[in-house]
Amino acid sequence: MKTEIDAVALGVFVFFFVLVTIMGFFAARWRKPETLARIDEWGLGGRNFGTWITWFLIGGDFYTAYTVIAAPALVYAVGAYGFFALPYTIIVYPFVFAVMPKLWQVAKDHGYITAGDVVRGQYGSKALELAVAVTGVIATMPYIALQLIGMAAVIKALGLSGELPLIIAFLVLAFYTYSSGLRAPALIAFVKDIMIYIAVIAAVALIPSKLGGYAAVFNAADAAFKAKGSGSILLGGNQYVAYATLALGSALAAFMYPHTLTGIFASNGANTIRKNAILLPAYTLLLGLLALLGYMGHAAHLQLSSNNDVVPALFQTLFPSWFAGFAFAAIAIGALVPAAVMSIGAANLFTRNFWRAYVNPDISDAGEAQVAKVTSLVVKLGALLAIIVLPIQFALDLQLLGGMWIIQTLPALVFGLFIGWFRAPALLAGWAVGFLGGTYFAYADGLKPLHTLHFGDTAITMYTGLLALSLNIAVAVIVNLVVPGKASPTKASPTKTAPVAAAR
């Protein structure tokens, strides 16, 4: 990969970066409310984003810069197995369609901002609220750090050395998020997504023609894996369960994260979310084609120092400087949107479910918004420090754990929407067993996301997060059966459906 500064590429990059910075500060005036000094205005954009804004916002924070860098990198390194991101981002949408409109309705009816609010409201348990909120914050922090890794990959490709460019980019992000709240990433997401679409469509249309067509690309990858002696363009028989459980587990975890939930809660209606479940798979098509850039890396015979360089190196090798600069700007801005939404989601959790719950229960609306704004700054600075001080591998390991942790909040957050049978102590016990058990497995397996179960002579390797979720649910069911107690206080009758239906 080239390392000297390319003036044309850098110029194009800086132009787009300055453009979105101006948009970020302007966003405070976009769809202007009477006041931004309320947490639902600052942190949820006033809960009135329609279908298209929601599509750009959720697409912008779910398909991140790290996806653009990491999915092709994994496919480049291991082949078909890395492609699990595709089924994952397909089967997530029937789940979103079935579950998220109900969650939105509950949040809207009761003014909930976070997953912690929903759980406290449904079960009246401060302990369960705290468990969900803490899980959300610690799962999100390494995710923000990963956005920085994506951004650092393109900054390096532009020939800029040192940490100063990364620090400047993040300070810019921190300040416009502070002043504009969720409106900033929502507005910037338009630019980001259009740029990413242009870059990826150009790549998947033009690169194979330069490399001899898709058949040649797949053949080159196949030959590279055979020469290397590992990886394949098809799955090995022992990878079936791992592939399927990674896809399913990731899909169930995806919309438990604070940033994706923020995108859901910020929309203006349950029907907006249903329409988005139909429209969001357009991004998945893009993701699948992007993942194949990993194989194009083999066809182009790139020499890479890190797998994460495959996408930047492809653009640099096969496109003119100005277009490489454009593509790199798209990826870097693609890091800003999710990082902003993630820090807002984490800040909302901290403010509502820790600060208000334990420090200052009588806080005013304006005070709440102020605490959230400051927290969003602290969260981002924390991620920046982590990436500068700690080894990058540490962020990657924590991110793997983060997915396994966040999925443990699913029973508490989702089950109550459909059945009123579970009670808080059972859900809390399930969460604890899933969280600690999953962490133990991951630790014992050397921080790998897969765990091997032995049944006599057969060994099955599956996604640790899904295994821990199974334990979580089993414990919740057993505790609920064994421990005597009344139905949760908010429900008139446990045999009726959740308050969603009643509120309609």
């Binding site: 089967i91 369609f97 363009i233 098809l234 079936y240 399927a244 029907n271 479940a277 139909i278 798979p281």
Partner: protein
């Protein structure tokens, strides 16, 4: 939500994509893409269509 048979369509992507032996093969190749790849990519528009069909059956709820 009353029992709605259209919602069963939402189960199909899970079967089609999680039953891996069904599609872990190289042939037939289409436009240079081995079956493994174009089969999974084909589920993107199919899933959108299935969700749209389910959507039509519930959209008057709001």
């Amino acid at each position: 939500m009353k029992t709605n048979r259209w919602l069963w369509l939402l189960v199909l992507p899970y079967i089609g994509l999680l039953w891996v032996p069904l599609y872990n093969t190289h042939d037939p190749v289409v436009l240079g893409f081995p079956f493994f790849y174009w089969y999974q990519l084909a589920w993107v528009p199919i899933t959108s269509l299935l969700i749209w069909l389910a959507y039509r059956s519930v959209k008057h709820e709001d």
